[in-house]
Symmetry: C3
Subunit: 370 residues, 3 copies
C-alpha cells in the first residue's frame, strides 16, 4: 500500500460534486552505501553513495466523471539522490511516467509514456521487489538480457542514448478490470523515433548496413501484452504470469512467471524468459537468441524480511551470467525501512564476450516513501 500525501481540492469540496479534484504528491527517497568489486577487471569501485530503488517525486490525480467513469493522470520525476540530477543525468524529466486517460467498467486506458505491460507485470514475481538494485534481478536477468546495453534490444531501442529500456514512449496503455483473478494488460506504441542515436543495429547477413540509422522509425508497431491470474482475495496464495513483447526493431520476448505462498510468511517465485533478436542478428552470431531464469523467495519475520534469489542468463555464443543474492529489510514504519544487500555475479566481460568476470556487491541504506 502506497502512503502518500493527499491534498484535497478544497474548491471542489465546497462546490459541485463533479469537481472532486485531488492531486497526490508522492515519492521515494532511497540512499545508502554501496561497493562493487571488479567493476573493471582487477579494479574495485570505491565505496559510493548509491541507491537501491528508483528515486521519485510524483504527482497524480483522478476526477470522478460520473457513471463510474474517471479521468486519471500521473507524472513522475526520477532523480539521483547522491548528486541531485535527473535520473541518469540525461533521461526525461518525467522518466517514471507521464500518462493521462480514462478508467471505467471497461478497464483503464491511458496515453503517454510508461512501463510496458510485460515490464510492469513482471516485478511481482522477482525476489528483490522488482527494484533496479545491483543485487536484484529485474533489470538484467528477469527480462532475459532484453535491455539497452544490446543495440536493438529493450523496450525503447530508438530512444535517446541512456534512456531506460523498459518503457514505451508514444504509447497506449490498456489494463482490463480484474475478472475472478484474471487480468489482461496491453501496451501499443507508434513507430516514432524518440531521438535514437542510431547505434549500429546491423541487418542479418549485411554486416556493413545498419537497418536502423539515427532518426529512423521502427519497422513494426511495438506491443507488449501480459496476462495474469492471481488467487482472488487479500492474501493470494498463488499467481501466474504469461507475457510477450515485440519492440520497434522487432526484438521479441516471451515470459512465464509465477509465485506460491505455502504459508503467509513465505513467498516462492520463479521466472523464465526467452528472447529472439533474429530480425537483426543472424543465426550463429552472438546474442541471436537467449534465455534466462530466476528463482527466489521472500520470508517475513515481524518487521524483518529476508530476500533470496538466484538466476542465470544464457545468450547464444556468449558467456553465461550467473547471480546469487541475499538481502534483508528492516521496517521502521510502513513507509520506511533500512536494508542490507549482498550479491555475487559472474558475467561476460562485454556484451558479446565468451570470457567472464566475477563481481561482488554490497549495499546498505535507507528507503523512505512519502
Amino acid at each position: 500500500m502506497k502512503k502518500s500525501l493527499v491534498a484535497l481540492a478544497l474548491l471542489g469540496a465546497f462546490s459541485a460534486a463533479h469537481a472532486q479534484s485531488s492531486v497526490t504528491i508522492y515519492g521515494t527517497l532511497d540512499a545508502g552505501f554501496a561497493k562493487t568489486t571488479n567493476t573493471t577487471p582487477g579494479v574495485s569501485s570505491p565505496t559510493t553513495i548509491g541507491k537501491r530503488d528508483n528515486n521519485k517525486l510524483g504527482f497524480r490525480g483522478q476526477e470522478d466523471l460520473g457513471s463510474g467513469l474517471k479521468a486519471l493522470f500521473q507524472l513522475e520525476i526520477r532523480f539521483e539522490p547522491d548528486t541531485g540530477t535527473i535520473e541518469g543525468v540525461t533521461r526525461p524529466l518525467f522518466q517514471g511516467q507521464s500518462r493521462v486517460g480514462l478508467q471505467g467498467d471497461f478497464g483503464t486506458i491511458r496515453l503517454g509514456r510508461g512501463l510496458t505491460a510485460l515490464q510492469e507485470s513482471t516485478v511481482a514475481y522477482e525476489p528483490f521487489n522488482g527494484l533496479p538494485n545491483v543485487a536484484g534481478f529485474q533489470t538484467d536477468l528477469q527480462v532475459g538480457g532484453y535491455r539497452t546495453s544490446l543495440a536493438g534490444s529493450g523496450s525503447d531501442p530508438l530512444g535517446l542514448a541512456g534512456n531506460s529500456g523498459n518503457r514505451f514512449a508514444n504509447g497506449v496503455f490498456y489494463n482490463s478490470p480484474v475478472y475472478n483473478g484474471f487480468q489482461l494488460n496491453f501496451t501499443w506504441g507508434t513507430k516514432e523515433n524518440n531521438g535514437g542515436p542510431g547505434a549500429a543495429i546491423v541487418g542479418r547477413g549485411t554486416a556493413a548496413a545498419p537497418q536502423y540509422a539515427a532518426g529512423a522509425m521502427g519497422s513494426a508497431y511495438p506491443y507488449s501484452v501480459s496476462a495474469t491470474y492471481t488467487e482472488p482475495g487479500s492474501a493470494p496464495r498463488y499467481s501466474i504470469l504469461l507475457a510477450n513483447e515485440r519492440n520497434a526493431t522487432e526484438a521479441k520476448l516471451w515470459q512465464i512467471a509465477g509465485y506460491v505462498r505455502p504459508m503467509p510468511a513465505l513467498k516462492l517465485m520463479a521466472t523464465y524468459n526467452k528472447q529472439d533478436l533474429d530480425n537483426f542478428i543472424a543465426a550463429g552470431k552472438p546474442n541471436h537468441e537467449m534465455d534466462s531464469w530466476v528463482v527466489g523467495l521472500n520470508y517475513t519475520m515481524g518487521p524483518g524480511k529476508l530476500l533470496l534469489g538466484y538466476g542465470q542468463k544464457n545468450p547464444d555464443m556468449v558467456a553465461k551470467t550467473k547471480q546469487a543474492s541475499i538481502g534483508y529489510e528492516y521496517s521502521l514504519s510502513p513507509r520506511t525501512y533500512v536494508y542490507l544487500d549482498l550479491s555475487n555475479k559472474k558475467l561476460p566481460t562485454t556484451a558479446t564476450a565468451t570470457t567472464e568476470i566475477t563481481q561482488n556487491h554490497y549495499s546498505m541504506g535507507i528507503h523512505h516513501n512519502f
Copy 2:
C-alpha cells in the same frame, strides 16, 4: 474557469492573519493520436501520439500583505506527454512562466519570464482557444509569421535555439485593473542575450554581415502592449483588442482583433496582423513585410463545442499560407474533454519559398485539467 488543487497553508490558518499562505498545484495533461500528410513533400508522418494543448504542471500562490496589496508568484513546468521530456526537450524547466510580483489598486506588476502582453491577450480571439495545436491558428497565422522559424522574428529572437517565440525573458509585466471593461497590458524587457545561437540575422544591404552574432545583445529594449475593451459582465457580447510589439532585434508587429456573441452559444472571432522586419531584411527581399488574418467561430451545443476557422498569411515574395480547420470538443466534466480536429493547410515549402505544399492533419485525444 480553472479548476485546480488548493492546498491551504494550515500553518497560516492556525497562526496570524498575515501568513495566509497558499500554494496551488495545477496543470494540464493532453494527449492523443495525430497524423499529418506531406510533412516532407510526398511523405506523410506515421500516426503519432501527440498533443493538442501545452502540457503543464504549475505552482502558484499569493500572500495578502494588507491594504489591498498582494504578493504573487507562479512557476509552470511544461512537458511532452508522449516522451516525458521537458517541452521541446531543451526548453527551460519553467517554460510556461516564472514570475513574482505585487498586485494592488494600481494593477499587477511582475518580474521574470512569461507571455508578452500581445501574445497573452490574443488567445481570446482565436477559434481554437489559442492552443498551439496544428489545427489552431495562434502559433503561426494569428501572429502573422512572427515566430522562431524566421531568424530575428518572434518575441525572444536572442534566446536559446528551440525556445518558444512568444515570451520575454528578463521582463517586467504590467496589467492594469479593468476599468469599465477596459484593460491595458504592458511588457518590457532588457537587452540581455538569453543564450541565442546567433543565427544569421543579416543586416539590410549587407548580405554577408549578421547584425546579431552569437551572444549579441538586443539593439532595442523590447516591449509589447495590448489594450482590450470587453463588455462588462459575466457573459460579454463583444470585445476588441489593439496590440503592438517590438522585439530586441526590432521586428515590429501590430494586431487588431475582436469577437462578438450574437447569441450566447455563438462566438464569432477575427484577427488582423501586420509584421515589419525592415530592420534586418531589405525591402524587396522575402519576408520584409507580411500580414495575416484569421476568422472563426465557436458554437456550443450542450456538452459539445464546434470550432471553425480560416486564415491566411501573406509574406512579401513568399508563397501564401492558407489554413482551414474544424474541431469538436465534448466535455466529460468541467475539467475534462475529448476532441477531434481536422485541418487543411497550404504553406510555402521553406520560409522563403514561392512554391507551396498541402498538408492535411487530424488529431483526436483527451484534455484534462487539474
Copy 3:
C-alpha cells in the same frame, strides 16, 4: 522562521498513527533590476533582470517513527527567475539539496547532496544573510576564495562544469543535537568523481602533469566540520563558529566567525578564513595560500533592516579583492520584502592577475518566500 505550505496527509490523519505523512511545498522567488559596471574592463553590463537570493521550489517531509525517531527527506529545485531555466542552466535539477535520513536523540544523519557543514554554518555570520548576491560576501570573500573559479578549489572540485562549489555530492551529513548552545556538524563524502571535466589541476613542481584528469577520483575523502556555540534562548546575544573543510583534491579551509548583539536591533559580525592549496599549487605560485576576512552589521528599524559590510581577500602573488556593500530591506510581511543593494568591489582582472579592476553594482527587487 520559514512560512510555507503544509499539506497534511489526510490519509494518514484518518488511519493509523504511524502514517502521519506530510509534504511541505516551500520556496523562494526573488527577482529585481541589477547593473554592474566594468564587467569587462571599460564596459558596463546593461541593466538586467537578476536575483539577490537563490530561487527555489522545494519538497520536504518527515515521518514520526516512534520512540523519538523521525525519517526526513528534502528535495529542492533551484532556478533562474528571469529565464525560467534550472539554476546556471546546467546544474542538477535538485541543486538545492536531495537528502534522506533519520533524526533522533543522537542528532540528524542524512545521505545525498547538500551544503557542507562549513558552508551551511557560515551564513549566520555574514551581513547579507548569506545570500549569493553580488553585494554579499558569502560566495567569494567569506569562504576565502574557496570556489569554483579556481581549479581544484571549492567543495566539489570534481563535479560537473558549472556546478556550485559549496556542496558535497555523495555525502553523509551529521548534525548533533544542540547541547547548552553547542552544536557539532560533520559532512563526509566519497572519492567519487561527479562528472568533473578535469580542468588542469597541475601537480606541484610538475607543471605539465595534471593530478586530476577528467573523470579522476578524489585523492582523499572530503570532509567538512563546524562547531558553533550560540547563547541559548530565543534572542541569542552572541555566537561563535569554528570550521574546517578539506575537499577531494585536498584544498584546505579554516574558518572562525562570530557575532554579537549589543542591543536587540544591532548584530555585529566578523569572519576570518585561511585557505591552503599546497597539494596542487607550489609555494611561490599564485594562490598557493590565501586568507580573507569580512566584517559587517545588521540594524533593524521596524520593518526596515540596514545591512553593511566590508571584506578583503589576500591570495599569494595575486591582487587583493576589497569589497564594501550597503543594503536595505523593507518587509511587506514576514514572507515578503523589497530590497536595494549597492556595492563597490576591487578585484584582480583574472584569478591569477596582479592588476585590478573596480566594479560598482546596484540591485533592487522583491523577495518572496512561500
